[in-house]
């Protein structure tokens, strides 16, 4: 993971290099992160395209003879207890799991950025109020409350899970953003922007936020993997995505009792989740290395 130290603004081959160009260049040298990125793109493509290529429908029941078939030519990853094709369900489940992962991270990020930005920029009493609120949210035991919430919030399905995860997922982001804002607001360009009459909101969103993107991106990347696990845990406990809509989590839960006689039902969603989450974590690590501010001074 040796990274070459290049200064921002250094001219390479007659081209002046911007920060993001350098980040890309360094990320490309990070083999594990590039492999992870490749795997992720593959998985995402498979989940998008897969269901169209599959001859089966995710909820299509097989005849009695097709129940719990081991992997074969007709069913590459076998069938489940209702005779449904596991590979097809894996693609659908991936769609749901990734969708939950991405959108919950995004929603949590929006909340975290808003709270962190205002707390860090304005400071004082607003900062105290928002951060104490964040502390309170942090000290709530999440799992039991998630279970209660997923019962209390009406409706079922994917969006409920996204909302529930986002409600408890924004605090870390808020703290990161607040820290960034606390230090960045002391910069002279912020003072200069104020001195030419730029409004506070514009300073927050246009001047400070773009400068605090690096840690946000890293945290978001790592967050997607984490939230996929969260969704699986919720689904496993029976409070997540409701069947017949498959997600990797509820596929695992379904497979639990059949583990001894049909291990492929566990392996497929389990491995898919494992590889995806691992890839997100490696990619996040790679991004963190590539964006390390200490290498750009």
């Amino acid at each position: 993971m040796a990274v070459e130290v290049t200064k921002v603004g250094e001219v390479a081959g007659g081209r002046v290099e911007t920060y993001w160009y350098l980040v890309g260049k360094r990320l490309r040298k990070h083999k594990l992160a590039m492999l992870s990125l490749f795997v992720l793109i593959l998985i995402i493509l498979a989940c998008i395209v897969g269901p169209y290529l599959s001859p089966y429908h995710m909820a299509e029941l097989g005849s009695t003879g097709e129940v719990m078939q081991p992997p074969s030519h007709a069913h590459l990853l076998g069938t489940d207890e209702l005779g449904r094709d596991v590979l097809t369900r894996l693609f659908y489940g991936g769609r749901i799991s990734l969708l939950v992962g991405f959108s919950s991270v995004f929603s949590a990020l929006v909340v975290g950025i808003i709270i962190g930005a205002y707390a860090g920029y304005y400071g004082g009493i607003l900062d105290t109020l928002l951060m104490r609120f964040t502390d309170i949210m942090f000290s709530i035991p999440v799992m039991p409350l998630l279970i209660v919430l997923s019962r209390v919030i009406p409706g079922s399905g994917v969006w409920k899970i996204v909302v529930v995860i986002a409600i408890f997922g924004w605090m870390t982001d808020a703290r990161i953003i607040r820290g960034m804002f606390l230090s960045l607001r002391e910069n002279e360009y912020v003072e200069a922007a104020r001195a030419i009459g730029v409004s506070n909101n514009r300073i927050i969103w246009r001047h400070i936020l773009p400068n605090s993107l690096a840690p946000i991106i890293v945290s978001a990347t790592l967050g997607v993997g984490g939230n996929i696990i969260y969704e699986a845990a919720l689904s496993y406990l029976g409070f997540g995505v409701m069947p017949p809509t498959p997600s990797w989590g509820n596929m695992l839960q379904n497979a639990e009792y059949a583990m001894a006689i049909a291990p492929w039902l566990v392996w497929s969603p389990g491995l898919a989740m494992f590889i995806t989450v691992l890839a997100f974590n490696y990619l996040g690590d790679g991004l963190r290395d590539a964006m390390d501010p200490r290498l750009y001074r």
Binding site: G9, V16, G123, E188, A192, A195, I196, G197, R202, N211
Partner: protein, 333 residues
């Protein structure tokens, strides 16, 4: 000297900082006026409240700082009483400011053109193309070669002098009536410093704007200013036109400052450079009476008890001292 009408009148301005260790009276009853088209030099050593005074004029004092008294009359209106939104419209449009650190005063994620355009678009209702056209004109005005190319460059691609020119272009974007230059040339090389000064003088002549020139460098004010205000511990101790200050400094502090500048004479006579005894008092423990008394060679019992008022001892020459110096200094330069 003939003077235009009063543009900025700072009256008894008090800006205090309420820290955990006590109240710091950074600006404690400062008064000065700037006339239209005039350059006023505000001189003093670190911690005398020059920068806080400029931030107070802009109404940009942050907590724990607070303007606790006084008025800042700009074009007949008190800026202290303005709402934040009214102030925002004045900043950049009527009063602009340039800062000490050109290296960090520009946002690293935007091109310089983009940032000057922002200054225009914040205050004026013009199209993007119009703003871009004006930005390029401004870049040319502040002496940046190849403005079309520079427009699309990022701050890190420019040298310190260039960046300060960009800052000046930004400050000039809406033709302000008052430009506050807070140690704007301090961080630059002497040669670049001279160029930037020349540019500011030139722009001042072209536009007729007034400049509040804040510095600790006496040679610079002599170069730039029409009048000089000398600040010490948050108060103005002497105020006059450049010529009188340099020729006949009346406050012992000003006298000491001017004496501690090396000249050809000290070089010839090999006498050690005179310095002002002692140190600036701690902001938490100001001495009683005149704040300069512990360091003043002429201090008397009265100086240790009473704070003198800023009094006009000659027409146009104000001094805050019971025992103004009456020695004539040989003229500088």
């Amino acid at each position: 000297m003939e003077r235009g009408e009063v543009l900025l009148d700072v009256r008894d301005l008090k800006t205090y900082f309420f820290t955990d260790d006590g109240v710091v009276k950074a600006v404690d009853g400062m008064s000065f006026t700037i006339h239209k088209g005039e350059v006023l030099g505000l001189v003093g050593e670190s911690g005398c409240g020059k920068s806080v005074a400029s931030m107070s004029i802009m109404q940009l004092v942050d907590v724990p700082g607070k303007i606790v008294g006084g008025e800042v009359i700009f074009k007949g209106e008190d800026l202290v009483k303005k709402t934040p939104e009214q102030m925002r419209k004045i900043r950049g449009a009527e009063i602009s400011m340039i800062f000490q650190e050109p290296m960090t005063s520009l946002n690293p994620v935007y091109t310089v053109g983009n940032q000057i355009m922002e200054a225009i678009l914040v205050h004026q209702d013009v199209s993007e193309e119009e703003a871009k056209k004006r930005t390029i004109e401004l870049l040319r005005l502040v002496g940046i070669p190849e403005p079309e190319r520079r427009f699309n460059q990022y701050p890190h691609e420019l040298s310190g002098g260039m960046r300060q020119r960009v800052m000046i272009a930004m400050a000039m974007s809406c033709n302000p009536d008052l430009l506050i230059s807070d140690e704007a040339t301090t961080a630059l090389d002497v040669t670049i410093q001279a160029q930037i000064l020349e540019l500011m003088k030139d722009l001042q002549k072209k536009t007729g704007m007034a400049i509040l020139f804040i510095t600790h460098d006496l040679a610079l004010v002599a170069e730039m200013a029409n009048s000089i205000a000398v600040a010490y511990t948050g108060k103005i101790v002497e105020y006059s036109d450049v010529y009188s200050i340099f020729k006949r400094p009346r406050h012992p502090y000003t006298y000491g400052l001017l004496n501690s500048v090396p000249s050809l004479k000290t070089e010839k006579t090999k006498t050690p450079l005179p310095a002002i005894e002692g140190m600036v008092p701690s902001p938490y423990r100001m001495p009683n009476g005149c704040h300069f008394n512990p360091r003043c060679p002429f201090a008397t019992e009265r100086c240790r008890k009473e704070m003198p008022e800023l009094a006009e001892i000659e027409p146009g020459h104000l001094v805050r001292c019971f025992h103004p110096v009456s020695v004539e200094k040989e003229a500088y330069a």
